[in-house]
């Protein structure tokens, strides 16, 4: 769909607004609007605010902030994490374009975790009162919202399986495969990963230490599975990577 054909169906919108709209967005079908048709899509669109881009290291919200909105990654990537009272951090997940953030806040008016940009990122903001109002009269959106939240649960459960008993190399393999699959869904090359997070972030997320992650990257490179160069990782043998993952899944 080109801008021109789309313009025909929504002539009243300015080109600028149009360019920011969900219908035009490349994330369209992997994002909250997936499955919504024209009219509903426009109504959802009216609730979306686009925040100015977040620079690397700056926070979208902090643990304990009062809950105001859900967010969706438009471009870039972010990490969510919690900090214990003794200052230790646990990374809960990484967020790529099309993925939702802030759902933990729905349960008690405060975000239970912090979210921070790993690189310069654009974010769509969905103020919750408006989203609630719109979805009240739009069963399709309502259902889609519940589906997306439920998907978070399933992803977290997959991660719990990994943290439960898998050995270190399998954790790293599953992590890389998950990233590759998500890249694929975004129509990027799933064999050429550019890791936006540090080795420390990866280690923390996987319940390992940085040295272990580093060693395993080296080992998988020696085994001909990967080509690693700093933040860029090329998957040379997807079959061997899958073999390392065993029967477990994480998407």
């Amino acid at each position: 769909m080109t801008i021109d054909t789309f313009k025909g169906t929504a002539a009243s919108l300015s080109l600028d607004k149009l360019r920011r709209s969900c219908g035009y967005c490349a994330m369209h079908d992997v994002c909250l609007p997936a499955g919504l048709d024209g009219g509903d899509l426009e109504r959802l669109d009216s609730t979306v605010r686009e925040r100015r881009p977040l620079d690397r290291g700056s926070a979208l919200f902090h643990q304990g902030d009062s809950f105001t909105a859900l967010y969706v990654v438009r471009s870039g990537s972010l990490k969510s994490y919690v900090e214990g009272s003794d200052g230790d951090m646990q990374i809960l997940g990484f967020h790529l374009p099309g993925e939702i953030m802030g759902v933990g806040g729905l349960t008690n008016d405060h975000y239970p975790s912090s979210v921070e940009a790993l690189e310069r990122s654009s974010i769509c903001e969905l103020p919750y009162p408006q989203l609630q109002a719109v979805s009240a009269s739009m069963p399709a959106l309502h259902h889609q919202l519940i589906r997306v939240i439920s998907h978070e649960i399933v992803s977290e459960q997959a991660h719990m399986v990994m943290m439960g008993k898998q050995q270190a190399q399998r954790r790293v393999a599953i992590f890389l495969r998950s990233l590759a699959d998500r890249y694929g869904r975004l129509s990027r090359d799933p064999t050429a990963l550019t890791l936006p997070m540090s080795r420390g972030d990866i280690a923390n997320y996987l319940g390992l230490v940085i040295e272990t992650v580093s060693r395993l990257f080296s080992r998988m490179e020696a085994d001909g599975i990967l080509a690693v160069n700093r933040k860029s990782v090329r998957i040379l043998r997807r079959d061997l990577l899958d073999a390392l993952c065993g029967g477990e899944t994480e998407s």
Copy 2:
């Protein structure tokens, strides 16, 4: 509130139906209906089916079954788990009265995990199509449903923090404290736990082996924190238990 006074407000219902209703249920305010008023409560009630009790070891649903309903524990307790293709099991959580089960199925029409009774248990079934129909015209229920699902996410995140880097004794301490707190919310004695799950289940859930859990129970008993006798655990020194937990929380 006695049965008689309640009967006066709903004379058309049979006593039997009444006894099964959400309004009469002891779990009332820690369950899905929390915050709903009379009229709404009755409408929710109409969608609830009570399944016959599940015996110890029998399944509520299996991983891969097609998604039909959400479930709530009325009495007893259950465990949810996933099985990898290589036959290994990972327990994802334990479910006490008032807690919801099956939310993972909302995202793609199939339950991603299995649920099995740890003891004879009563279950309320909420067929999803009906729940969806009722909540479409009842914003309060709709919002409550989202809150409950989001709560699942937050609980799982707390568990991920634990699995990330906490040492074995802290895991066991956090597990016991979590159970004690949930007992408290059910107005049971939070210092006298009757563990419905085996040592193996606890170990699996915490990412440990059975011997480690056993040793730590013994150690905490030697330290005067617990009195352990098979499945019954008495918390003698809640302060010391909290100290072992450090700054971390899990509810």
